[in-house]
Symmetry: C2
């Protein structure tokens, strides 16, 4: 029986029609268009659900469940979004609002939790312990132990991006200093690259001829995380230094999480993970030197996410399967 | 029915006779006397068990189980101590060795895990999620989720002390840099205090008249963690600065762990925890500003351990109750 998965993001609201085999049969979306009232956003979420059901020739009774991944802290008991910084939500009774528009059993969770759940279920993982981090604007985290998501007493657990790896370091927008996401997110890679390039121009450094300048058309504002990996594939020296620095930061944060959970699988998702082996190989090598269990016969498998942004939609749709 | 709990430490081997109400009815010990062969240590462990049974007028059949807390990584399936740095053990089949001397069902686990389990069970905690850190020579960690200890795939999980909070910081003996235990252990507090006092003497600083100098009889080698708290209670300015610095470090590491688990209870054990409110009050205040869930209606209760070093013995004895 089909299910609907809603990915409520800061830019788009996407609804996917998810089949039993975890494939996405259809998807529909609209702009989140922030700032906007929660009531109005809920109305759009409901409208998209109705539309995708209708245009696939289905009825409410054909949909087993609707799930939504929310970029914030969701109280699963009350259905209240306690805090979602990017949406401007504080104590918003989103489940109650949605029920006015969707007459189907509804489930909600944090978006990174939904992504971890989707990657775990759609990826066919059978392992008891599975950790996902998503490298994007920030670093999201989802932890699955004994086949269940780790929520903590207040549903704010698994905030792996907001653990400091350098408490004397750079400020984070969560109010702390040196959080993992300040060094390891896609945004961090972009910022580190732009900083190095800008410094380069001022200092008349040997890297002034970096391919990165060509890739961004001479404007560092056009630099993306992908630019660095593209430049690395062309053998660019500055890009290689930046990748080395970035993977060093990432390995420190990943080793922290492995030393705590020693999970069977540590999965890396988000846009940066598309870099494949260029990212994964140095990461594995560096992390292996940092983990506490380096003498162990069995160690965590570090791997890249396979379902990318779809994991959030699939995981949301499958939230009703959470034990 | 009574049980035996063995605390195999770097200095002493202690065996306790533990009653069903978690009280320790009798205890017996001998020196670990390192360096020494595992076989010889196992023989002493067995001998102590036999002695304590005999001198309490009991027989093997009166003892439900024997448990041992080991300062290292214990493979619970094979009974092999895979690695215990302080003991010099690598892949030691300790369970098999012990069985030659003890004909009672035997259980083993990491010592910090045993301490967490003991504090949890003897403390009568009913909460699903409970984290203990012990502040001693290093920082040990034990994590209880859904009433079970977190072991990870290779039994090396819960190494909370070996997560970096400053990857550009001081070296740790695990090979990493800036581990939580390098800043937050009792040893760290002692080192930070000695450093400050030594610097003071050279720089002819205003703190030269610190009470710490009296407390250590003019010799900084006599400084203990307790010295700092004693000096604080006398209103000493240098000691207050050192405590402020130490609790800042501790709060960074604690907030990291809370942001990951959001446990119901976060318990602090080890010698330093005897400082009571002098330690706990600033820690609670600082941690509250760092946790990701500071807007939540429910937050982790930070508390001090009640069973101190006994927790390791009690927890070891109760290892047979682990789900």
């Amino acid at each position: 029986m089909a299910r609907l998965g809603i990915d409520l993001g800061g830019t788009n609201i996407v609804v996917g029609l998810v089949a039993d085999d975890c494939s996405i049969k259809d998807r529909i979306s609209c702009k989140t268009a922030l700032p906007r009232s929660a009531e109005s956003i809920a109305e759009d979420m409901g409208r998209l659900c109705q539309e995708i059901i209708k245009r696939n020739g289905l009825q409410n009774k054909d949909i087993e469940a609707v799930g939504a991944g929310i970029p914030g802290t969701v109280n699963k008991k009350t259905g209240i979004v306690e805090y979602a910084n990017n949406l401007g939500f504080e104590n918003v009774p989103l489940a109650a609002m949605l029920k006015k528009y969707i007459d189907i059993p509804l489930f909600m969770d944090n978006d990174a939790n939904a992504a971890a759940w989707g990657e775990y279920k759609a990826g066919g993982y059978k392992e008891d312990s599975f950790v996902l981090i998503t490298l994007g604007t920030g670093i999201g985290g989802g932890v699955i132990l004994d086949g269940k998501l780790l929520h903590g007493i207040n549903y704010a657990g698994g905030e792996l991006g907001h653990t400091t790896i350098n408490f004397k370091g750079r400020p984070c927008n969560c109010g702390r200093t040196g959080c993992f996401e300040v060094y390891g997110s896609a945004s961090a890679l972009i910022e580190q690259t732009r900083d190095a390039m800008a410094f380069d121009r001022v200092s008349d450094h040997l890297y002034e001829k970096s391919v990165l300048w060509t890739l961004c058309g001479g404007n560092i504002d056009n630099i993306e995380a992908k630019s660095v990996f593209d430049a690395v594939s062309q053998g660019d020296e500055l890009a290689n230094i930046l990748l080395d620095e970035y993977t060093t930061y990432l390995s420190e944060g990943i080793a922290n999480i492995i030393n705590i959970f020693q999970p069977a699988v540590f999965c890396i998702g988000g846009g940066v993970s598309k870099a494949g082996k260029t990212l994964l190989d140095p990461l594995k090598k560096k992390t292996a030197k940092l983990i506490y269990s380096r003498n162990s016969a069995v160690n965590t498998e570090i791997t890249l996410a396979r379902f990318d942004n779809d994991a959030g939609i699939i995981g949301a749709a499958l939230l009703n399967e959470l034990p």
